[in-house]
Symmetry: C2
Subunit: 300 residues, 2 copies
């Protein structure tokens, strides 16, 4: 089968064998939201040479403005419930003919907070982690543009909590008064500066006030232009962790190498054990969901 994690700005396609082992992978910078009416055609050319007839998609491709809006599954959301919520799409044109295409639903948590929280795409990574590791209980953090915190209980997604940490970092880093005091381009990760930002997040004063301190320290020369991005990152991640409703003892971290390093450092500083997992879990999750959907009598 082919599993595709199709987000707002890029897609990752995996070819898996029947045992769920990834045999091949491709990547393209095609966003799921910008190609109305052309989703099948884009996939068709991406799949060239892959003759598998089963295709599973997850991510923004199933969100508003994607290929088809697939309704969210309510928490607690088990693998079976997510599998049953998969929707089959039939491509209109000649592309993808002979293949069956399913889109995985997102998940919604209406009960943990007065305002609902959602995810779309990350649920397959969580399912992948549950299946790859036999996980039935735990706290999972999936940092990124929007950092997702997922609580798994009895093998189901019990709660979802999102923090806009990555997006706020990017906006401040690129377009704010703070970016004027930082060199453009990527900097090396500066551990002491990151730790100073983390520590600052524990002071009273609030994030909006602490952010201005990045500027003041830059003006006064106590923070260099090379240190400021790491300090800002530590400050924001520190605020994200500091606002968690309860402090978990152990966190499963699903992230690329760079983010995993930052979050693991911040979690360890807060006395929380961490275990880091690769992002490829999405493919394993889609395979598990597809298997669940074909063995579940109520499935499409």
């Amino acid at each position: 089968m082919i599993a595709v994690d199709w987000g707002g700005s890029s897609l990752r396609a995996y070819r898996l064998d029947d045992d769920g082992v990834v045999r091949d992978r491709r990547r393209a910078e095609i966003g799921a939201l910008g190609c109305a009416g052309q989703h099948a055609q884009k996939l068709d050319s991406l799949f060239e040479g892959w003759d598998d007839d089963r295709v599973v998609l997850c991510g923004m491709v199933g969100g508003r403005g994607g290929w088809r809006e697939v309704p969210y599954v309510e928490c607690p959301a088990s693998t079976e419930a997510l599998a049953a919520g998969m929707v089959r799409v039939d491509p209109d044109g000649p592309d993808l003919r002979g293949r069956t295409v399913h889109i995985v639903p997102g998940a919604i948590d209406r009960h943990s907070s007065p305002v609902a929280d959602v995810m779309r795409g990350e649920e397959t990574q969580v399912v992948g982690l549950m299946h790859a590791r036999g996980l039935r209980e735990g706290v999972i953090c999936l940092p990124g543009t929007h950092s997702k915190w997922v609580q798994v209980r009895e093998g189901s997604i019990r709660s979802i909590r999102t923090a806009m940490t990555g997006e706020v970092y990017a906006l401040l880093r690129r377009d704010s008064v703070l970016s004027r005091l930082m060199e453009p381009g990527d900097e090396a990760f500066d551990e002491p500066a990151f730790d100073a930002g983390l520590r600052r997040s524990r002071d009273p004063g609030g994030l909006l006030h602490h952010l201005f301190g990045v500027r003041t320290q830059g003006l006064l020369g106590t923070l260099s232009s090379a240190q400021s991005p790491s300090y800002l990152s530590g400050l924001l991640i520190g605020h994200e962790l500091g606002a968690l409703p309860t402090t978990p003892r152990h966190v499963h971290l699903v992230a690329n190498e760079r983010l995993a390093a930052s979050y693991a450092r911040a979690l360890r500083a807060a006395g929380i054990e961490t275990e880091i997992h690769a992002e490829q879990l999405a493919a394993i999750g889609m395979h598990a969901l597809y298997r669940a959907s074909t063995t579940n009598p109520g499935s499409p």
Copy 2:
């Protein structure tokens, strides 16, 4: 005399008589940071027909990258200390010849928090308020791109505290995932949505998490594209107020009409009395500072 409040993106010039009454005013969209070597020339053409020989400038024109970087005055900063910190600039070229030009220093607070805080430009509004109203004690809030909270004690600026509320609002409103759910352009102020954002700010969870709730509510249709900007504004202002170290009983609000309405509403909801003052206080403050500098024996 002529008083000029010259910020990063625009300038406001006022012509005052000897009693400090504003007789005329001009405005230009010229930023103080983008015209290296041309500050005198820009002012010269702006002043055409104004023959006053004394000019006082405040704001970013005295900051790094402005005309001349004028050192900050330490808190507690009295009118006399700020006046004594004024620096005279002598234009190189033929422009402004025959006029004396002074730049007002900013103020720095190194003691209220582990990280210093500063302001540059707002100190003249505070001095203006002290002089216009005989104010010697009070809390002053000057909202804007960077919201300044100033404590005045015994006629001096005692502490400074900045929150990046306005800038974070603008970034999120214009360039974030949240802006996709909002109509472009200015919306009418929606009081119920603003109040809902204010209330949400008091929930646990932290700002970074609350921000994502703007998106979820937009997706679920519980917040319309017309309501979302006011909700976001209430959420951010609520977080700014909620993080104040102490809750003042009374606040002097110096702001344009739109911001004054939002902040006054949020302050009243927190049980804080407010008194609104016009922004023109900067001119009165520069006049007072110039008078203090000419009567102070240690002045330039």
